[in-house]
């Protein structure tokens, strides 16, 4: 398990604020659920984890056409330094590295009605 030595700190520039918004729609039920994370509101460890997830996710690739029906549709928006990157992907055909980011964002979503 990778971790820093106790008491050590890696020098890093002040982190850039990132806003990540995820909307899941569709599925058999057609419910829409939304998550939003502001890195400025995160603990340093969570902020670092978010950066790792974003770094691993390929947000620029065009998702392949999907067959079938009732798949979840994911609309992801990443805002950093005034620039916004958007991608749409479908369950079962997600670009590389996107699933862990979606799972993490979904897990952080507060409980509540689906719409």
């Amino acid at each position: 398990m990778p971790c820093g030595m106790p008491g050590t700190r890696l020098a890093s520039p002040s982190p850039e604020r990132v806003l990540v918004r995820l909307q899941r729609s569709g599925g058999l039920a057609g419910f829409t659920v939304r998550s939003e994370v502001d890195s400025a509101q995160l603990a340093p460890a969570d902020r670092a984890h978010l950066e790792r997830l974003l770094g691993a996710a390929d947000l620029s690739s065009t998702p392949p056409p999907t067959r079938g029906a009732d798949r979840f549709q994911y609309d992801l928006e990443v805002e950093r330094g005034g620039r916004v990157q958007r991608t749409t992907a479908f369950d079962g055909a997600l670009p590389p590295g996107l699933q862990p980011l979606i799972d993490w964002l979904a897990a952080r979503r507060a409980g509540g009605p689906p719409r």
């Binding site: 058999l28 039920a29 419910f31 009732d70 549709q73 369950d91 509540g112 009605p113």
Partner: protein, 216 residues
């Protein structure tokens, strides 16, 4: 079956049906409702017949056809007439967070649960980029049209209304990108072809007109 971990969905992946156990919050075990199984199976039938494009109006028709045949599967299993049927989709699999009785109501779209966004008429069609252009929202309109046909004709839905919809799905004149209006026209033609000009084709035409899809 038992796809994923508390997976709150069921879908057709182009080759097989996939069912999750539900998150226990919005959705329960998705195989608990026979109409949902019929719904997913029908996606396979649609793909291999009309192959309605899963986007916008043709996507909402694709969804509606799955609800129509899913509901008929349930009615057939229970031996119900169209008067006795509840015309609900997914009754028994909705979790406590939904505050509702089902996922959708064909008899009264928009009333299945608190905040149900389904319209019953064309003038309330929802324009959105979510959910492939609202395929699970606007399906309320053709769903309600089928319900109106079945109720007008009475008896078992699979005797008259069902065959008209199935013939429509298999009609070579129905394009993959069909609009509600295109689909409605083919249903009237299919009704005339199978049952002649009379009560069935009149009921089909009247139903579409009632939901705001005008068919001459």
């Amino acid at each position: 079956m038992h796809y994923g971990d508390h997976y709150d969905n069921a879908f057709w992946n182009g080759a097989r049906m996939v069912f999750g156990d539900g998150d226990g919050y919005t959705l329960l075990q998705t195989t608990a409702a026979i109409d949902v199984i019929g719904h997913e199976l029908t996606h396979g039938v649609t793909e291999h017949t009309a192959n309605l494009t899963y986007l916008g109006q043709s996507g909402a028709l694709n969804e509606s056809v799955s609800d129509v045949f899913g509901s008929m599967v349930k009615q057939f299993a229970l031996g119900q007439t169209s008067e006795q049927a509840d015309w609900l989709i997914g009754e028994g699999i909705v979790g406590p967070a939904l505050h509702g009785k089902a996922l959708r109501s064909m008899a009264a779209p928009g009333t299945a649960f608190e905040g149900d966004p389904q319209p019953a008429e064309m003038r309330h069609y929802v324009h959105t980029v979510s959910d492939n252009g609202g395929v699970h929202i606007n399906s309320g309109i053709p769903n309600h049209a089928f319900y109106l046909v079945a109720r007008e004709l009475g008896g078992r839905s699979w005797d008259h209304a069902g065959p008209v919809w199935y013939d429509t799905l298999r009609d070579p004149g129905l394009r993959s990108n069909a609009t509600f209006h295109d689909f409605a026209q083919v249903t009237v033609r299919a009704a005339q072809h199978r049952f002649g000009s009379g009560p069935v084709s009149n009921a089909v035409r009247d139903a579409w007109n009632q939901v705001g899809v005008t068919v001459p």
